[in-house]
Symmetry: C2
Subunit: 183 residues, 2 copies
């Protein structure tokens, strides 16, 4: 690894923080940093909870996706099952709970890893694979969640992620990489 | 594509919207929807501008990354060059401008596509590849941007994205897929 113009990159010093917006899942903190050159700068950062997504595969090799309306992009999308970690909840517990709630399926969960949502957000996004998934119960989506459970082939998922029309493009690729489906 | 329990998924009807927070790049809208069952529900959505990232490759086959402190995750990360589209700016113009500002390099830009940042954000993330990149000028980062330009091999990028320790994991994979580097 070479460097064109070598600077020493260092962490900024956090001088203070206050919450300037908090409503439902949205929280924004004003954070005052001292930059390496000694100047002070205010940043408005998203204080967002961690999430977990699951690439869930049935015993027949189908991938379990959730189809639902997403209000941010204003589109109906197929995505991985998943959702927020409840307060203090371990990622693998959240993953199993969300998969069961949204799809009714259970399976053997393995942690793949996590990625970073955004340079201005505290959120980590965990990704799991779940193998040998089987229908355990009826889906019990939360209030306001209207979800279609879709079973697609791995090839269909591979084509779909390539188009980027998912909110979890990062997590799908990480799981496909972990499984050796992309090389 | 088969369906386990077929529901008709439809778009929600937007009844109204007001901005409840706006400061620097952060804007949150309260949006009132009528859900398909006729109930009304308030959502607090992130109204966020679109961004563009670039997988930039030099004439010698090196990938140009930017190393900087990221305040959200509180980490020093290597990421793709890129940033916000200015108001009315076309994505390819923003991509070329951001690459030049952050790294001093120019190259032949091709649009790969875009993905969706989050189910509760309006943001699109565009991804470009830039081939035949060459040093054109000194980097001119914006106020507060302290950036090291790093040249890495494609194999090093491939290893790095697998670990998820980037804010643009989605964009890197989309570009590698477009280039046929992952199959």
């Amino acid at each position: 690894m070479t460097s064109v113009q070598m600077k020493k990159i260092q962490k900024w010093k956090k001088l203070g923080q206050e919450t300037v917006f908090e409503k439902y899942g949205r929280k924004i903190n004003k954070v005052v940093f001292e930059l390496p050159d000694g100047k002070k700068a205010d940043y408005y950062l998203k204080d967002e909870g961690d999430v977990a997504g699951i690439l869930a595969i049935t015993k027949n090799g189908k991938v379990i996706l959730t189809e639902q309306y997403r209000p941010g992009p204003d589109k109906i999308l197929m995505d991985l099952p998943g959702g927020f970690l409840d307060s203090g909840e371990r990622p693998e517990v959240a993953a199993g709970r969300e998969m069961l709630e949204e799809t009714g399926y259970k399976g053997d969960l393995e942690l793949v890893g996590h990625t970073i949502h955004c340079a201005y957000s505290t959120r980590k996004k965990y990704i799991f694979v779940a193998r040998n998934c089987f229908k355990h119960a009826s889906a019990k989506p939360e209030e306001g969640e209207i979800i279609n459970v879709r079973l697609v082939s791995m090839g269909q998922l591979r084509e779909r992620v390539r188009k980027g029309q998912m909110t979890d493009t990062d997590l799908v690729y990480l799981a496909l990489d972990y499984l050796g489906i992309i090389k």
